[in-house]
């Protein structure tokens, strides 16, 4: 992995060329869930549906486990992976809460009180 200036931003994966190449098939699988028939086929047998896509085993496992951060790390883009959430009937806020490691009520409360502060979240150096 080539080091980029934005790798210093904590808790954030930019969907750059490297991630896009890694995640192409994962994201195209997600895109297929835009169609109701495909959503039904996925729900009926997730593993069989995933095996129809040339994704890595790690990507398939991340999807099956609904490991949202894992999917992002393996090249998923949030606008694509959120289509899995839509298929599951989950809201954006619910998966955002999961990705940031809190319950949905805790996340909703954080947003109501002004959101996650930028202080301490600009740089990984802030976290040391």
């Amino acid at each position: 992995m080539t080091e980029k200036p934005y790798h210093d931003i904590p808790g954030t994966v930019l969907f750059d060329a490297e991630q896009s190449r890694k995640g192409f098939h994962l994201n195209q699988f997600c895109m297929s869930l835009m169609k109701a028939d495909n959503r039904a086929a996925f729900k009926a047998d997730e593993r069989a549906y995933l095996d129809g896509w040339p994704m890595t085993e790690a990507q398939k496992q991340a999807v099956l486990a609904r490991d949202w951060n894992g999917m992002i790390a393996l090249g998923g883009n949030i606008y694509f992976t959120s289509k899995i959430a839509a298929t599951d009937g989950l809201s954006f806020r619910q998966i955002a809460a999961t990705m940031s490691g809190v319950s949905e009520p805790e996340y909703a409360e954080m947003m109501l009180t002004g959101g996650r502060s930028i202080e301490g979240n600009r740089s990984k150096k802030d976290k040391l």
């Binding site: 808790g11 969907f15 869930l33 949030i78 959120s82 954006f92 955002a96 996650r116 502060s117 600009r122």
Partner: protein, 279 residues
Amino acid sequence: MARITAGVATSHVPAIGAALDNGKAGEPYWQPVFAGYEASKRWVAEQKPDVVILVYNDHASAFSLELIPTFAIGCADAFAPADEGWGPRPVPTVQGHPELAWHLAEKLILDEFDMTIVNKMDVDHGLTVPLSLMFGQPDAWPCKVIPLAVNVVQYPPPTGNRCFKLGQAIRRAVETFPEDLNVQVWGTGGMSHQLQGPRAGLINREFDNAFLDRLIDDPEAQAAVAHLDYVREAGSEGIELVMWLIMRGALDPTVSVVQRFYHVPASNTAVGHLILENC
């Protein structure tokens, strides 16, 4: 001659569309959001734009990873609301303005902006939520709309400076269109928000308000701000704000502020809204 009279900027949070579509706009959570657009709805009803050039981004609805145009202009007669996984929003079909859109495509390309021409495209919440915020829930949208889709999903998006210059080129192109049209340019997306990873939910009021100040009074300085600053300060999805610079570039260097509104939160996002008029 066609002329650009005003610019509008607004966030395009999908949950705002869902709140309207599901009759929740009056709930305490949403009421302050929609209150920020009441005066704007009256203003736009008086202004009666003939055409809105609506700058927005597609969210993996019309464009997958197969094709990622940096700047795409919709030249079709009409654009249907996209099914984003929950069924299409119950909003009117968007009527295009193919004559002006093709004129813009031709002029912009010859002006060295290499636009992608789109003749068939569904439009997602990025385009329809701003229409809902400004026009409410009519049976038909009251003006023609030219969708101008900007890639902000695949990093890197175009620079702020390139967006600002595209806005200036749009103005030059509009002003050579022979028909007498009242044209507005809308820039959408933002403000600070991050939808992914452990930093999801990031909001930066200070950055957002400084952005609004500079967009109004010193847009060239704002246009020089690097992507890294947006991503670090306003979140991985906050970089959508570069699209507002297209709107600003299409206006006079000095503008008057008709409306300015800022609210946190709408779902995961800070909502910002501006109406700027040429003096």
